[in-house]
């Protein structure tokens, strides 16, 4: 299935970015497979994040995406453990902008 790129404003808080990603998935019949800060072509002070989306067939839309974040040097294992217990799996984990600052962002569904 086709891959597409979508830029999300990294100045937004995490919940707003989660809504942006879920909206994009539903509207474009796709699923996010990676999410990280954009390091190319961004002007000074710009904080864009890039989502890579893979098209899914109509009717095959996966469950909504849930985002968690922590400091870049923080320990992600408690968050992952909690989410796994809730029946979710890790979709991506990478450094992205949250409120304009670097954070480790994890995506679950």
């Amino acid at each position: 299935m086709e891959l597409n790129k979508q830029i999300v404003d990294g100045q937004q808080p995490l919940d707003a970015q989660e809504r942006a990603l879920n909206f994009t998935e539903q509207a474009t019949y796709a699923k996010v497979i990676s999410y990280a800060k954009n390091t190319g072509n961004a002007s000074t002070g710009a904080t864009p994040n890039v989502a890579i989306l893979q098209d899914v067939s109509v009717g095959q839309q996966p469950n909504p995406l849930h985002l968690e974040s922590l400091d870049v040097s923080g320990d992600a294992s408690p968050i992952i453990t909690t989410q796994l217990k809730a029946g979710k799996t890790v979709i991506f984990h990478d450094i992205a902008y949250v409120n304009g600052k670097d954070q480790m962002v994890l995506g679950f569904r």
Binding site: D9, R19, A20, N22, F23, Q26, A27, N41, V58, G59
Partner: protein, 309 residues
Amino acid sequence: MFIQLRAKLIGLIALGGLLLLGGCAGRLERPNIPKVISESPRNGKVGAYDLEAYKLDMLNYDKATGSDAIRLRNKMIYGVMAEIDYLFYDYETKLFLNEGSFKVGSDFLQLGLSAGSTISNGARGKTVLSALLTGVTGSSLSVDKNFFRQQTVQAISSAMEANRDRIKTIILQQLKQDSINYPFEAAQSDLIKYFFAGTLSAGLQQRNPQSATNAQVQQAEMNQVQVKNISAGDVSQVTSMNQSVAKAFESNDLSKVIAFLNAMGAVVDNTSAKEKIEASLRDIGRKITTDEALRKKYYDEAKKAGLIQ
């Protein structure tokens, strides 16, 4: 005495070696030019299309009409173009060979002089080009040398080639016209542009604004396409829409979906393949992620079509 003689002998051998190397370097620049190109069969002089031939053609062209005029015009254009091409490729070769000297910090003026002497290029420079370029002010090479050093010779050369190709295409397209709509005087103007498109200053000019424009476009795109300000209500609406569309696909009743897509400007009907309808839905979906006005219309039309409440 013997030591002095030995030193002289070593010096002579070294000098001979240097001369040999110099010869090799000359050969590295380019292979020998075939005589059919470097010498005119008409007079044996350097320059395939010389000033005398050009003057004669011009005289005949002024008197000619119809197909004769077209033939002479085209002959002159191709002749001058070949001269310009020869000079350009010769110049380009020297530009590449001189690249090392820029990197070790030689003055930019050196390049200007070397380019000037290349353009003169002995007998060739005194032929048609001199006549063609009479009255045209020389292109200024007053480009900041620090700027020049930031560009690679390859990049500048590519820009020059692109410039030349663009103008050459225009000239060749114009040849389809008769000599009234595209007289040689008009071609002369285009040939001057063609010549200057292959100069260093044109290459630099081509490089810089393009880079600036690309950067501006990238920045503008970056500012425009960011997804932001999505509310919980927005997510709820598109999720409902996605589910309704899925049901319509499953039941093979796409009438509501088609009505919605038509209202949004997509060209689909009940004979359209599912793949086309799916592609139209994705296309509109991508647009509403960043276009808030279109997003509102999307909800309104989806409601009218009975896909969401």
